[in-house]
Symmetry: C2
Subunit: 216 residues, 2 copies
């Protein structure tokens, strides 16, 4: 577990990006203000939860008026840290690694892929979206010289733990972990797991245990 400045619960944090997404869409559609009640209807959560969640970070609304969409959007951006650029590398340039490297939308939220690494000789030197695939032995140097914040791990689980330790030594701040293993690292390094096969199993469970006949 990691030490947070203040102790906002994991549940609250996990809802912030969704608020951010809805506010972005409201902004696009030209909506200037929104009440917790109206937003709750759209998002299918309680208005109470929205107000509680937001008030963990400060009073962004105004009685009798609601929330200014644009203002709240940028405040949440600040809270999430997506108002700043993050230098990100991807370790493992297989199918998934390359797919993520190709995904342009991340850079919209400030996540810029500045490096790609792999130990497969046959693909080293190739470019993905203008970023060259480098050998693993260039990893340490690159992280330190290029102020890399985030490392994405798209490598087999066998290698993941060892690489993660290397990353920790280089002072990486966060690891976006797609490897099928838990990483056990010091508290000052944040890990966000994306376990795709486990997500698929959850889907499978819910399919198996959902009453097919019932419609809402």
């Amino acid at each position: 577990m990691s030490n947070k400045d203040n102790s906002i619960s994991k549940a609250v944090v996990s809802r912030l990006p969704r608020y951010y997404r809805y506010l972005g869409e409201l902004m696009e559609s030209g909506t200037e203000r929104i009440s917790s009640g109206e937003l709750s209807k759209r998002m299918n959560v309680t208005a109470s939860q929205i107000r509680q969640d937001l008030n963990n970070f400060g009073g962004f609304g105004q009685q009798g008026y609601g929330y200014n969409v644009k203002y709240l959007y940028f405040e949440i951006a600040k809270i999430l840290g997506v108002d700043k650029k993050h230098n990100m590398i991807i370790i493992g340039a297989g199918n998934l690694g390359r797919a993520l490297a190709n995904y342009a939308n991340f850079s919209k939220s400030g996540f810029v892929v500045t490096g790609l690494f792999d130990n497969n000789e046959t693909i080293i030197g190739k470019e993905v979206r203008g970023v060259k695939i480098q050998p693993m032995d260039k990893l340490k140097e690159f992280i330190i010289k290029n102020d890399v914040d985030i490392a994405t791990l798209t490598i087999p689980k066998k290698e993941a733990k060892k690489v993660a330790e290397t990353l920790a030594e280089c002072g990486i701040k966060g690891i976006w972990n797609f490897a099928h293993t838990d990483l056990d690292l010091p508290d000052n390094i944040v890990v966000e797991n994306v376990h795709l096969s486990e997500s698929l199993m959850e889907l499978s469970y819910n399919i198996a245990h959902t009453d097919t006949k019932s419609q809402r």
Copy 2:
């Protein structure tokens, strides 16, 4: 929200795949039995939680002995529904869709990619792992004829809602949704969201709010 036969909480279900993973690794290493206490140390959860979680589904252990690894592994497989084959299609054969299609490991858990769909003329007819990319207008027929359980959505959000409705009409059971939008579907259709950019934002939040100095 969907109707479940019995009401096992979402929190419990989300932990099952992780138990399954650890039991698989124990099996591979030849461990025959494990106590909740020992497993709790490895997984970094409380023994109490493990016993509570498992007892939602039945008494798989034995007093004074613990749990038989192999037996429990296969029982959880049944609970998760990964003891059976699932026919899966992928809609959207862009970078992410193709990466998922190429990922062999899913078929180990019984998820077999039997179809790939896209509306981009230039890639229709191409093959990924022996599966041909088909045009979207073949979707309905294919699902019905080939007993497709699960559809993976790797298409832009603009198209996702409409396609999801089509899928619902064809009687798909589950949607693995990578599109950046919520899908609002009848209760008998299960949706599992994988919102990658939101996962990255959570990572960003935790980086911004973690004390860099503290080591564990």
